[in-house]
Symmetry: C2
Subunit: 243 residues, 2 copies
Amino acid sequence: MSERVVPPGARRRRRPTKQGVVLSEELIVATALRLIEEHGADALSVRRLGRALGADPSSLYRYFRHTDDLMLAVADELIGRTLRAWRPTGDWRADLRDLGLRMHASALAHPRAAVLSSYRVTGRVHEIQAVETILGVLRGAGFPDADAVRVYHAFIDQALAFGALDSASTALPKAAREAEAAVWRATYARLPAATHPHIAAAARHLVHDMPRSSYPGALDLLLGAAAARLAEIRATVRPGQAS
Amino acid sequence: MSERVVPPGARRRRRPTKQGVVLSEELIVATALRLIEEHGADALSVRRLGRALGADPSSLYRYFRHTDDLMLAVADELIGRTLRAWRPTGDWRADLRDLGLRMHASALAHPRAAVLSSYRVTGRVHEIQAVETILGVLRGAGFPDADAVRVYHAFIDQALAFGALDSASTALPKAAREAEAAVWRATYARLPAATHPHIAAAARHLVHDMPRSSYPGALDLLLGAAAARLAEIRATVRPGQAS
DNA sequence: CTTAACAGGTCAACGGTGTTGTCATAAGGT
DNA sequence: ACCTTATGACAACACCGTTGACCTGTTAAG
């Protein structure tokens, strides 16, 4: 066995599959994404992916060391797509808001990849490009390096964390998702004021608010705090005028 | 088969297992938690849990309809423990900060349950108690119902989302976790300024910041924004003096 | 005190999963 | 034309969650 995965550059022998398909890293990732989109995140398994490709499942291990590796490649491809669709305008706050919402939406569309990419550092091309781009926006806006990294960190973690959270709940079978919303109406909204005064008082708001994502609000909060920090920095730096 | 799970109240026949153990919902949940603590989140499977209990795996289905159900019970137990350990002082901001950190820590200690509980509404006793308690803190501080729910929502989602995110990364095998940190040093910190100027400029900060959790910072941000909102509300309400 | 019902345990099986060791073969370089 | 070897196929392993059928001891009713 030793190492069955060959570095991408060294691949040459394009022997087709029994069913005539010529495999490649790109084709595998694209097919995985298609499977996820068409049949949901749970439809993705090595065996099913093999079947969809017209190849033996074990062939995939010539391209990825294990499932995780494959999912990271899928996640990186998603980052790339999100970044390509994004059109920065030069207004850092609006641009980051837009990017945050896009990342969140992309996570919602691909729950499984979102969960994985939320806590893994891929070190792949698109991820690096995203880091460079976001840091560029922040430094361009005038954040000193240390603050730029802090804001970047909070921004990216929040987008990923809420993305994973919200995507997990939309990935539930439809019946289960409706059942969740029903818990707020049927259980919480009916608790008597005698035993649960605070829930009873706020019941109306709970039923309305809780089944919705709190990400947009949290994002605005973060950007607001960052803007306040930037104003503070600018005020401090004015006298000396150095970066 | 029909319905094999009997509602907790109706249980009476306490026939012991072949190996002499008397099962109960509480014992199962406690054992599951112990397994997670001792051998990591991946050590928890129906079969292993059965083995640890000295019972056939299928016996567990007399108590929980499926694995999810079991994990929700585990999650609810965790909420209960966290809440019991928390000692509110009456200072809403300090109390919520303390509670948020405790929830985050508890998620770190029980990654698998954390992930599940982060996007599911259990409607179980401890969860309800937590909602009532937190809403009580906020309403007691003077937040009107609608704002209390908004702050509650952001607070709880943030704690759960970051908890799930951070716990997922600490649940990685130690080798993988070290590899992640190494990516920042070995890949990002070495990118040439010519192609990646922003990363190169901020490299030192990236290496230091990125492998750490951004939750405490994000939490303070949220509470700061909530405090600002409360001050605003108080200022507006002063003249009429009504709640 | 006997007896009938059934809660709650066991067993065996089904169809799935990721992963690996071994083998065969066709493509490429020489 | 040959040799090497990348790469695909196959079969097997050890797991997983879940279920239907069966059996038995406890319990409540008569």
